[in-house]
């Protein structure tokens, strides 16, 4: 963009600029206002004028985004890129990283290390995810459909009641479930005693502990799903239902043929966010079984945490994190393809 000759007409930046942006006027104005104009090599004035014009046009935009972009670059973007690099390095806190040979070594170690515990972890995570996400979507849809015909205030009440547990930290919710599952004095075994069943070691029997944890997640009301489904159902034009009434459709038919197809974008969105959340399950497990129950309670994120911050094998931990990233990306992509809908209304 450097213009050599100061008197040449201004090169349009985005659109032709009004004459006052011309550099001659710029200099005159600077002189008039006694703003010192730096004299330099030929063309300096012009470049300064260009820069000034650019700043006047876009300076505020960059100023507005600067704080967010800088922290984002330093504490989100750079770490993501760096993590990809560390995943193919052997990293030592004192000497830094050296690339491993072969380059996929950490990924291989992630799978084969500790007798292939990472494979078990992926399996556990998938089991947890399949049960939790399916239940969450079905329960969310059912509850939203049930509260939809009710009075507005009643609906708000139920949404709030369902949402209240969702704002409390999953750590404290998980802790509470650990008490409910306590083998000695927990509420779950109390209920079993009432009907004369032997107490169950919910959180220490390796065969059922994953089931207990999954059940606790399934029994948590999917508040976000209820709220979003409910909003989506509220947005369907009434004419559709009126038309169906004229055709003599039953409520169930209307639900199946009108409501369900039209809320598909919401179903898709919720499936994706619940799947991501389940893939990343950690707090609930960490607080319910702090030291783990053998392999039965290892998930992807507990493995990332243990390899990185207990075993201090940063390369393997980064490799596992990258694999989580890829899995989430892949699942989201597949879900978007399968559940995508072209319905417009």
């Amino acid at each position: 963009m450097a213009r050599i000759n100061g008197s040449s007409p201004p090169i349009p930046h985005h659109r032709p600029e009004p004459a006052r942006y011309g550099d001659a006027n710029e200099c005159n104005r600077s002189r008039r206002q006694n703003i010192p104009v730096m004299r330099g090599p030929r063309g300096w004035d012009t470049r300064m004028a260009n820069a000034r014009r650019f700043l006047r046009e876009h300076g505020w935009s960059y100023a507005f985004i600067a704080p967010s972009i800088i922290t984002f670059a330093c504490f989100t973007f750079a770490p993501v890129v760096w993590s990809a690099v560390i995943s193919v390095q052997k990293y030592n806190l004192r000497t830094g990283g050296t690339f491993v040979d072969p380059i996929w070594m950490n990924y291989q170690k992630a799978f084969t290390g500790l007798g292939g515990i990472f494979v078990t972890s992926i399996g556990n995570t998938l089991t947890y995810t399949v049960f939790t996400v399916t239940t969450n979507i079905v329960v969310g849809l059912a509850l939203a459909s049930l509260i939809q015909p009710l009075h507005r205030h009643v609906r708000t009440f139920f949404r709030a009641a369902f949402y209240l547990p969702a704002v409390t930290s999953s750590l404290i919710v998980g802790m509470t479930w650990a008490y409910i599952y306590n083998a000695q004095w927990g509420f779950a075994n109390y209920l079993l005693r009432l009907i004369g069943v032997e107490p169950v070691r919910w959180l220490s029997n390796p065969d059922i502990v994953l089931g207990s944890i999954t059940a606790s997640a399934m029994l948590t009301i999917p508040a976000t799903a209820v709220v979003l489904f409910s909003a989506a159902m509220g947005g369907i034009p009434t004419e559709f239902y009126e038309a169906a009434d004229l055709d003599g459709a039953s409520p169930v038919q209307k639900w199946w043929w009108i409501t369900l197809p039209l809320i598909r974008p919401t179903t898709l969105y919720l499936t994706v966010i619940y799947t991501i959340a389940s893939f990343e399950v950690f707090e609930r497990i960490y607080v319910m079984v702090p030291s783990g129950v053998g392999r039965s309670t290892q998930t992807i994120v507990t493995q990332i945490y243990y390899s990185g911050f207990k075993d201090f094998d940063l390369g393997v931990s980064a490799a596992q994190a990258m694999m989580l990233f890829v899995m989430i990306g892949a699942v989201a992509l597949v879900q978007f393809r399968v559940l995508r809908s072209n319905v417009e209304y």
């Binding site: 760096w82 990293y91 015909p149 547990p165 704002v167 509470t176 009434t238 559709f240 940063l314 990258m322």
Partner: protein, 286 residues
């Protein structure tokens, strides 16, 4: 609200309608009880004096006594410190995001400037990246900045969450541009346009953003667990998790620790629940 879609006209014999609404209400009531029971049970236990193992018959009605809470505050050295730490982190993060996400969201929504789309795509594409990917580099960065084991190691990454920028952009995009232009013609500065036009119109989105940021940082657990090791630097979630190891035999204190930690967020929710639910919908507009 009789026109709300999905409000199905009640046709058919009266008996059917009654049966249907009885079923609806009982399902909803049972679900509400299940939804609220864990938290209720935590509070019932916290408000009933327990000094050792809880009784075999579960406490379902609280005794409404604060013994456990008092013992918690007097025995656990750092509990109040954890509350202060969590409040500091959550409030600072909220303030940061309310101010700078509004500015950035406005710039991305309404202003044109070189690299706008590139930068925005970079921001949004990290929304799907699991936060866990960043932990090891963040740990190394915090080590080299010398802020590991201090509140700064939690605060700095908290300032880089991108969700708010996305939320604010989505909202501000829907505002009409004429108002901005009118303000400029009236001699408003660029900052003035944001202050007097954009902010007042975006209040609902800003409220949701504030609430989400506060809750997210108040509840955040894994990064604080990694970033701080000294008990006096813990946030409340990390501290509460550590109570289980510290007071193995005094369940009263552990219950109280969990209950007290969730009170601020519950009050917060009850005060602002309208914005919570609106915010969910705003954030979902993808």
């Amino acid at each position: 609200m009789t026109t709300t879609a999905g409000a199905r006209p009640r046709t058919g014999p009266i008996g059917m309608t009654v049966t249907r609404s009885v079923v609806t209400w009982s399902v909803l009531m049972v679900t509400t009880v299940i939804a609220l029971f864990p938290m209720y049970w935590l509070f019932a236990n916290a408000l009933t004096p327990i000094t050792a193992t809880p009784p075999l018959t579960p406490i379902l009605v609280p005794a409404w006594e604060l013994d456990n809470v008092i013992r918690l505050l007097t025995t656990s050295k750092h509990y109040t410190r954890w509350v202060v730490n969590s409040l500091t982190v959550s409030l600072a993060a909220t303030l940061w995001h309310v101010v700078f996400d509004t500015l950035a969201g406005y710039a991305f929504a309404k202003r044109r400037f070189p690299l706008r789309n590139v930068l925005f795509v970079a921001l949004v594409s990290t929304l799907m990246v699991p936060i866990h990917v960043t932990f090891i580099p963040l740990y190394l960065i915090s080590l080299s900045l010398g802020i590991i084991d201090s509140i700064w190691a939690i605060l700095l990454p908290a300032s880089s969450q991108v969700f708010g920028i996305f939320l604010m952009r989505q909202f501000i995009q829907t505002l009409p541009g004429e108002l901005e232009d009118a303000a400029r013609i009236d001699g408003c500065s660029e900052i003035g346009v944001v202050r007097h036009v954009i902010v007042p119109l975006s209040m609902p989105a800003i409220a949701s953003l504030a609430i989400f940021t506060f809750v997210r940082n108040w509840n955040d657990f894994l990064w604080p667990l990694i970033a701080v090791n000294r008990p006096q630097e813990f946030t409340l979630t990390v501290g509460v998790a550590s109570l289980q190891g510290e007071f193995m035999t005094d369940w009263g204190i552990i219950f109280a620790g969990g209950a007290v930690a969730s009170i601020p967020i519950i009050i917060f929710f009850l005060l602002f629940q309208r914005y919570f639910l609106d915010g969910l919908r705003l954030g979902a507009l993808k």
